[in-house]
C-alpha cells in the first residue's frame, strides 16, 4: 500500500495524513477499514502510566583529581555505580535514604529523574575507591542536566502489552503498586489505557521492533530491545490481543531533551516511589491490516481481575473484564458492583497521541523502520529454589 520511506517523504513535505488512534477508530466506524487505510498514513498511539522498571544512565564527567565512584547518592537516593568510574544508574523505584534523625521523605529515584529533567539542581554525594588511577576518596557537588555528560533514560520494561486489574478480597487494606486496594472488594484499579495503548494496537508486534523511533517523555526515544518479562505467548483473544500481561519493550532516549510534564516522579503509599512516563508510538499504515488492528475498541480488549490478598506469584482471579467496562468506572465481581479507577492517565495518554501527531504533521518526526523484530516466543520462567532443600520428615 505504501512504504515507510514513502510516508517519510510525505512527512518531509508536511503532507502526511496523521490521525490519533482514537480519531482512526472513529474514522473506521464511519468509512470502514479499506477507505480509512487509503486516507491515513500514520496512526499515533500513546500511554501515560507508572512504569517502575525505568531508570537513568548518567555520566558525571571526571573530577580532578579523579574518583572511581563506588557509592553515590543523588538528593539522598542511592544510584548504582558498579561500572565505569563516573557512570551511574539511577533506578526509578530506589527510595531515598533518610539520614539519622531526618523524617523519611516519600521520594525516590523517579522524583530525582523528573527534577533533573525539569532543570532543577540535585545534590550529589559520592564515595570512591582510592586507586593509583583514581586517588580521590569523596566528592560532593551540585549537578543539573546541563553539567553532566550523558543523561538518558534506559528503561528495561516499559509499554506493557496489557496488564491486570487489582482487587482485594481480604479483610484488611492493602498498599500496592496499583495504589490502595480496600478490603472486601471495595475498589478495583487497572493500569493500562486500553484501546489507546501502543502494543494493543499492534498485537503481534508486526510494526514495532528494535529501532522503532518513539515519543519518550516528551523527547525522541527508541525501542532498544524486548523488555524484561516479555511474554508474547500469553493467551490471546481471536483478535490476537492478550488476555493479561504479555509483550514488553525496553526503551531508551535522551533525557536532556525530555520535558518534566511527561516524566513525573510518583509515590505509592507504603509501597514506594516510581515514575510516570508518557510514551507515544507511531504506527505506519503500510497495509489494510494495520488499520484493521488499530480499529480495536475497548469492548474487544480484556484484562484479568486479580486478588492481591493472596501474596503469591500466582494469585487467584475473578475472571476477565473488558476495558469498556473498566472505563465506565464500575465493574461487577461475583454479582457485586465495584468501583474501578484507572492508574494510567487516560487524559495524558490522549495528549501524548496528540503531541506525537503534531510532531509528525510539522515534519519534526519521521518514522524509523525496525532493524530487528521483537521475539515472538519467550518462555516466562518462575524463579524457584534449586538444590538443597529442607525436608520435613
Amino acid at each position: 500500500m505504501r512504504t515507510i520511506a514513502e510516508i517519510n517523504e510525505k512527512i518531509a513535505r508536511q503532507s502526511a495524513v496523521v490521525l490519533t488512534v482514537e480519531e482512526l477508530k472513529a474514522r473506521v466506524a464511519e468509512v470502514g477499514v479499506s477507505q480509512a487505510a487509503k486516507e491515513v498514513d500514520v496512526i499515533t498511539t500513546g500511554t501515560f502510566e507508572p512504569m517502575e522498571s525505568s531508570g537513568a544512565i548518567i555520566n558525571l564527567g571526571h573530577t580532578d583529581p579523579p574518583i572511581k565512584i563506588r557509592r553515590c547518592w543523588l538528593d539522598g537516593v542511592p544510584a548504582y555505580s558498579g561500572f565505569g568510574a563516573v557512570d551511574l544508574y539511577l533506578g526509578a523505584t530506589q527510595a531515598v535514604e533518610a539520614i539519622d534523625g531526618e523524617e523519611v521523605r516519600e521520594k525516590g529515584g523517579g522524583h530525582v529523574i523528573s527534577d533533573l529533567i525539569a532543570g532543577l539542581p540535585i545534590q550529589l554525594r559520592a564515595l570512591g575507591q582510592v586507586t593509583d588511577c583514581y586517588p580521590r576518596a569523596t566528592f560532593e557537588t551540585t549537578i543539573t542536566r546541563d553539567t553532566i555528560n550523558q543523561f538518558y533514560l534506559f528503561n528495561p520494561r516499559n509499554l506493557y502489552q496489557n496488564f491486570i486489574v487489582g482487587v482485594n478480597g481480604g479483610d484488611r487494606p492493602l498498599h500496592t503498586y496499583l495504589g490502595p486496594l480496600q478490603p472486601r472488594l471495595a475498589n478495583a484499579v487497572y493500569s493500562n489505557p486500553g484501546a489507546l495503548s501502543p502494543l494493543l494496537n499492534d498485537p503481534n508486534l508486526q510494526l514495532i521492533g528494535i529501532g522503532t523511533r518513539i515519543f519518550l517523555g516528551g523527547g525522541i526515544g527508541y525501542v532498544a530491545w524486548e523488555g524484561t518479562q516479555h511474554f508474547p505467548l500469553q493467551k490471546r483473544l481471536p483478535n490476537d490481543t492478550p488476555i493479561g500481561p504479555a509483550a514488553t519493550l525496553a526503551l531508551i532516549g535522551d533525557a536532556k531533551q525530555m520535558d518534566a510534564r511527561w516524566v513525573r516522579g510518583c509515590y505509592f503509599k507504603s509501597y514506594g516511589p516510581s515514575l510516570m512516563i508518557g510514551v507515544g508510538v507511531p504506527l505506519p499504515v503500510i497495509n489494510e491490516e494495520v488499520v484493521a488492528r488499530c480499529a480495536v475498541q475497548d469492548n474487544d480488549l480484556v484484562a484479568p481481575i486479580v486478588d492481591f490478598s493472596i501474596p503469591r506469584r500466582v494469585r487467584p482471579t475473578f475472571g476477565l473484564v473488558s476495558y469498556a467496562q473498566l472505563k465506565s468506572g464500575r465493574i461487577a465481581i461475583e454479582g457485586k458492583p465495584v468501583r474501578v479507577a484507572p492508574l494510567a492517565s487516560l487524559f495524558l495518554s490522549r495528549q501524548v497521541t496528540i503531541a506525537l501527531k503534531q510532531w509528525i504533521e510539522a515534519g519534526k518526526f519521521t518514522l524509523a523502520k525496525p532493524v530487528a523484530p521483537i521475539p515472538k516466543e519467550r518462555s516466562f520462567l518462575p524463579q524457584d529454589i534449586w538444590g538443597a532443600q529442607v525436608v520435613l520428615e
Partner: protein, 119 residues
C-alpha cells in the same frame, strides 16, 4: 474534655466524627459533622469557642493542585461519595466540592501529592 458527649447532652447535637487526631493531654484536631437544631448548633459552637476550642467550618477543605495533578483518576476509586470523578468524555478529574465529606482518603492515594487539606 468529652466534647462530643457534652454536645449531645447539653445541646442535643449529634457529632459524627470523620477524623480525629487527639492524643492524651495534648492539643488535637477533630473533624466532625454536627447535626441538630440550627439554634442549638449555633449555641454549641458558641460554647466550644468559649472553651477556647478553635472551630472552623469545613468549607473548601480538600484542595487539588491542577498544576501537579496528572488526571490519573486513582483517587476516584477511594472517594466514598463520588465527589472525585473522571469526566467520561475528557477523562479529566472533576471535583464536586458539595459532595466531599473530607474523609481525606484521596490524600495518601494521590501518587503525585496533588491533593491537600487546608485544615
Amino acid at each position: 474534655m468529652p466534647v462530643t458527649y457534652r454536645l449531645a447532652k447539653d445541646f442535643n447535637v449529634a457529632a459524627n466524627i470523620i477524623r480525629a487526631q487527639v492524643a492524651p493531654n495534648q492539643i488535637g484536631k477533630l473533624v466532625v459533622e454536627l447535626s441538630g437544631d440550627i439554634d442549638q448548633l449555633d449555641a454549641a459552637i458558641e460554647w466550644m469557642r468559649s472553651l477556647h476550642i478553635t472551630v472552623s467550618q469545613s468549607v473548601a477543605e480538600i484542595a487539588i493542585n491542577q498544576d501537579i495533578c496528572v488526571d490519573c483518576g486513582l483517587c476516584t476509586g477511594v472517594c466514598p461519595t463520588e465527589a472525585l470523578t473522571l469526566d467520561p468524555e475528557t477523562y479529566r478529574l472533576s471535583f464536586t466540592r458539595s459532595r466531599c465529606i473530607v474523609c481525606e482518603q484521596c490524600i495518601p492515594t494521590c501518587p503525585v501529592e496533588a491533593i491537600s487539606i487546608n485544615l
